[in-house]
Amino acid sequence: MSGLTVKDLVVDHGAITAINGISFTVEPGQLAAVIGSNGAGKTTLLRTLSGLKHASSGSAQWSGEYILGKKPENLVRHGISHVSEGKSVIPELTVKENLALGGIWRKDKKDVVAVTKEVLELFPRLGERLSQRADTLSGGERQMLAIGRALISRPKLILLDEPSLGLAPLVIEQIFHTIDQLRHKLGLTIVLVEQNAMSALRIADIGIIMNLGKIVATGTATELINDPALHAAYLGY
């Protein structure tokens, strides 16, 4: 089976069980929004899928391959890119260097040049700041840089952890718009973790609602948006 399939996944942080047996499937090309309150286990889920965190049990497959237990640097080579929580850039490096980082491992240097150009077209503001250190960027620009770096690895699956964190509403809309654009243009599969439930669901195909390490509801994005019970309990409006 292709796409992303997670089965009976359990992940512990020492004595704390952050993810307690969850299963779901994201079809290729779909955008799945993962929603839940603080401490629901969303970040832990993404960290497990990208290889940063060990799972205690269960399985996860991407494009038919089992991915748990693999190292993040190898999963990147399998087309999985993780943009981690809190603007995943290296502040001490310049914008240019941060972007270059995403292409170091790739053999096809011509394509690295090409995709870098694409990224700079997508985020022109980065192009104007290439030799600036990343810590001088605004929050939104940093998020663009983080996504840009991930794209340079030519991923098939992107794991995005709260791209809207700490951004102004207008910038959030922009970022979400870009994400939506990207996946259609590049045919990406995306797992998007968000607190901003409505914005995320609006661009998502399916939604996964988590609470205390379990999935409490799944469905198409439209179903979830229109479910009044969920609104009250988890979506917060």
Binding site: E73, L93, L101
Partner: protein, 298 residues
């Protein structure tokens, strides 16, 4: 005036050596967050290997290359065998937090004992490849010799090569990324483990160059680089511990500073002076000349 120039020249020559040692410490610190006290041991081991080659072949260049390669190799071995095991077993507790520092101290002791068993603890003369007599200009002879010139040129070459690698190459980018944010580096596809080993390899080579260049002025013993370790550490602290350029500037500052103190005040003060410099560096600029974050406060 003449005296001041002499002090300056000697200071620069020594300063370059201190810089190399500082560079070695900074490279390891950045890649693994360990102050590697065994650096002195690794460097003296490389120097003994160079000594062995030079006494057998009488070819300094061959000895230099052999010693530096040995230094690089020892660096890799230490990282892979000792540091990786150490970080695998790491747990909480008062010693665990200090485990890498203590392990590096243990390694320093181990390397010295092994050297002592193989070569003996007595002084071995390391013959200089070029004259150690000062240059003569007209009627005045300055204490700066061909050997000093070789030191400056050799050290400067190593630093230029390092700078090029670090600032211009992908390997350098990977090294810096892995040093600053290992997790993000991994997510970007960088094999941080291998990169870390590379950092130790470079450090081992830098330390070896320092040891091999400083030793021809003197005889070698298993302990003869202890003071270089201290000077290198102080230089690294002056430079901010994180910064390669800082290490170079720190080394030169310390070298020149100590040289003036020795010339004008007296040799007896070299260690107290070093200590004062260290204290001043920590008080005046706790983040170092080139450090951006106050990393050293508890």
């Amino acid at each position: 005036m003449q005296q001041a120039i002499n002090a300056l020249l000697i200071g620069i020559s020594n300063g370059f050596i201190y810089s190399l040692m500082a560079l070695a410490l900074v490279l390891v610190w950045r890649s693994t967050r360990v102050i590697n006290f065994a650096q002195a041991g690794q460097a003296i081991l490389s120097t003994y290997i160079a000594y062995e080659i030079v006494t057998r072949t009488d070819n300094f260049i061959l000895a230099f290359i052999g010693g530096v390669l040995a230094g690089a190799l020892v660096g890799a071995v230490v990282e892979i065998l000792l540091m990786r095991t150490l970080f695998k077993h790491v747990s909480d507790g008062p010693v665990a937090a200090l485990a890498p520092v203590i392990a590096s101290l243990g390694l320093l002791g181990l390397i010295r004992s092994v050297i002592g068993m193989v070569w003996g603890n007595d002084q071995k003369p390391f013959f200089p490849p070029v004259s150690t007599n000062g240059f003569t200009f007209g009627s005045t002879t300055v204490p700066f010799s061909r050997m000093n010139l070789l030191i400056v040129l050799g050290a400067a070459t190593v630093m230029i090569i390092f700078t090029l690698i670090f600032q211009k190459s992908n390997l350098g980018l990977a090294l810096r990324a892995a040093a600053f944010q290992p997790e993000i580096a991994r997510l970007a596809g960088i094999r941080v483990g291998a990169i870390r080993t590379t950092g130790w390899i470079f450090a081992g080579a830098a330390g070896a160059v320092a040891g091999i260049l400083i030793s021809p002025n003197d005889a070698i013993t298993p302990y003869s680089l202890d003071s270089l370790l201290i000077f290198g550490f102080v230089a690294a602290v002056i430079g901010g511990l994180e910064s390669l350029i800082g290490a170079v500037v720190g080394g030169l500052t310390l070298g020149i500073g100590l040289s003036f103190i020795l010339t004008y005040i007296g040799t007896s003060l070299i260690f107290p002076a070093t200590f004062v410099v260290l204290a001043l560096a920590l008080i005046i600029r706790p983040q170092g000349l080139f450090g951006s974050k106050a990393a050293r406060n508890a």
